[in-house]
Symmetry: C2
Subunit: 266 residues, 2 copies
């Protein structure tokens, strides 16, 4: 226990308890400022080794920050008293690769053989960008970040394969450079962007029509900047077709007790 | 003295001695790989304090890595036996702000009151970019880097004021991001870029017509990336009009005994 332990536990835990109690069912962006958030993928044990390989092979979209033991819905490395069945605002349930439900808790779906994977989230680096004086367009406009399926392929592992999904934030050029510098310090939160400008080069035909989340305007004096996104595994899971898989709903993340700064590179 | 001291002294010193002997009168790009190079500005003592302020106020174009004592043409902090009168391939001599000569040595111009300022150079970070697998267009094409006067103003100090001058290197977007990450580790070599894409936003009307150096092609699938340039002081000196000023000729730098890696941030 260090001097930071108590406020860290309070910020993340209090937020999870509020979500568990039904106080939030939307995006977790901006909740528990300073505390890391995570994408979630829960898979049967039979798929765990291949999915682990998929994450290792694709560290920019899938930076692992925690893995549960089979059947265990806690994740002690990321926080006290985490209950992955109830502590996210909303989930997606996939059967044989098809989306079947988007519930606010998943107790009835839980199984003894499920393994939980927590993947770093760009909401963490957004706070560092705001502290540097940058405007995050989807936060200013109070909507979800725009996300796109690209023409870039992930590295396949077993049955897991599919396109890289990216999130997009527009910035004036000097701010784009600053955003690249800052996010390169957070390799466990997707790190530096994968693309900048020229959306067509990565298969994005219409920047105003994201595949997930909400469109935001990009000014003539701005460049769209694209980061690898933790929704990428959801596209791979649709291809792998496990009998059961549970993910977070895009934007509705696991709020942890770990501080963002704990994940910053030196 | 550490284990690296001897090869460091040999690489930089041998190159300077060759230049002193008349073996090179062109660009120093690619000479003494691994050793830092520097822009040079030599000014009368009466202008030294204001020029020092100008560098402090404009650390991206003017990152100071060494300052001489008045009248001294050595720079022991940057290398053994440096003679600033003879050790650069070519110089520019300015009288009252006007360019009057471009000699290969400046012994006849030296004065007891001259103060020498060595400013970090982008040639240093170019080696790090090449080691990361990036192509540097002007090196591939064996020409000088293109440089442009911009519409961005420097912060003035006393009589020193003028536009920011930038150097430009084109990269595919993913390589541009990598270049930003790498150069941000070299704050004493101009650091991260100041602009990317959209040259018109910083007053560059025609990317094919640089104000200094040589034009290089920019592909449709590439972005021009702009770094603050050590030629910036030359524009400020033209405005300050000291009775005498001596600078390096663009591209013909001081080769030091200090290793590039010694200037990298943690």
């Amino acid at each position: 226990m260090d001097a930071h332990a108590e406020p860290a536990a309070a910020g993340g835990l209090a937020t999870r308890l509020a979500i568990r109690g039904g106080a939030h069912s939307g995006s977790t962006a901006g909740l528990a400022p300073g505390f890391a958030q995570a994408n979630l993928a829960i898979l049967p044990r039979a798929f765990a080794a291949d999915f682990l390989s998929f994450c290792e092979l694709n560290p920019k979209p899938c930076p692992l920050i925690g893995v549960g033991t089979p059947g265990d819905f806690s994740l002690p490395a990321l926080g006290d008293d985490i209950d992955l069945r109830t502590d996210l605002p909303r989930y997606r349930v996939w059967c044989d690769g098809a989306l079947v439900d988007e519930p606010t808790e998943i107790s009835r779906w839980w199984r003894y053989d499920l393994v939980s994977f927590a993947i770093g989230c760009s909401f963490s680096f957004e706070q560092a960008l705001i502290e540097a004086g940058l405007e995050i367009r989807h936060i200013t406009r109070r909507c979800n970040v725009p996300m796109y399926r690209t023409s870039l392929a992930t590295s396949p592992a077993g049955p897991f394969r599919g396109p890289l999904v990216v999130s997009m934030r527009p910035f004036a050029p000097a701010h784009a450079i600053r955003a690249i510098e800052i996010t390169s310090r957070f390799p466990k939160m997707h790190g530096a962007p994968v693309h900048i400008g020229k959306p067509d080069l990565i298969g994005i035909a219409d920047i105003a029509a994201p595949d997930y989340g909400d469109a935001v305007p990009v000014g003539d004096d701005e460049l769209p900047v694209f980061w690898a996104c933790g929704v990428t595994p959801q596209a791979a899971i649709a291809n792998a077709r496990p009998d059961l898989c549970i993910t977070h709903y895009p934007g509705a993340m696991l709020v942890t007790d770990r501080r963002n700064v704990d994940f910053a590179a030196a």
